[in-house]
């Protein structure tokens, strides 16, 4: 009997495959282009002058994505393309967080920084607005029909030797 073989299994990388590449073949294995925190910050700041970029960032913040997560994504992608090291990206991150807060404040967008305690998180106005967007107050609510409780049938004896009613 032929056994079905899952071909997806052999598409996965072999353990240790990443070590077979030549060292320095990835951008993050090369020396970073920007070496100081000042350079990293001045590289990211023009991003906030790009209107399309700012709109995208505002949409993400309005959707409820924490600012720290957005900043993490930005700095990670910078590291991946070999722009800066992880350390300098991490050191520059508070400035990016502050810049995003400023942009959100200027645009009256509710935001979550990501450092708030879970208990203190209140529902944001934007999410409430999004939920009530399609809500029509004139819409009549369907009447709730209460189901009558089912009459309980007398239990039949289940044993093998039990007498049955004829």
């Amino acid at each position: 009997m032929p056994v079905e073989f899952n071909t997806e299994m052999i598409d996965a990388p072999i353990p240790g495959q990443s070590l077979t590449n030549e060292p320095g073949s990835y951008p993050w294995e090369k020396p970073p282009k920007l070496n100081t925190v000042d350079e990293v910050i001045s590289n990211y700041l023009p991003m906030f002058n790009n209107e399309d970029m700012v709109i995208d960032l505002l949409n993400q913040m309005e959707a409820g994505i924490p600012i720290t997560s957005i900043v993490s994504l930005i700095t990670k992608s910078g590291t991946m393309i070999g722009l800066h090291s992880i350390d300098t990206g991490l050191l520059a991150s508070p400035v990016l967080v502050e810049m995003l807060i400023s942009v959100a404040d200027a645009s009256d967008v509710d935001y979550v920084i990501g450092t708030e305690k879970v208990d203190s998180v209140k529902p944001r106005m934007s999410s409430i607005r999004a939920t009530l967007k399609d809500f029509d107050p004139k819409l009549e609510m369907p009447e709730v029909v209460e189901e009558e409780p089912m009459e309980e049938l007398p239990k039949e004896p289940m044993g093998m030797m039990a007498r049955r009613e004829v």
């Binding site: 925190v37 910050i41 508070p94 400035v95 967080v97 450092t115």
Partner: protein, 62 residues
Amino acid sequence: MSKEIKSMYRNMDKSLNKSPVAKESSSGLLSQKSKPVKEESSVAEYVKQIRKIRGESNARRI
């Protein structure tokens, strides 16, 4: 990495919200001019400046 960013931001926020402590200037013979500036302190300065500008613009809008 988001976790590290959170903790770093929290620590920076804490240190910036503390009341500033006046440092006494050293009367030593060694020159203080060539003292290297910590990168973290320059980031704190950036954050301070951004907060100041944001506070001003928010006050203007109100």
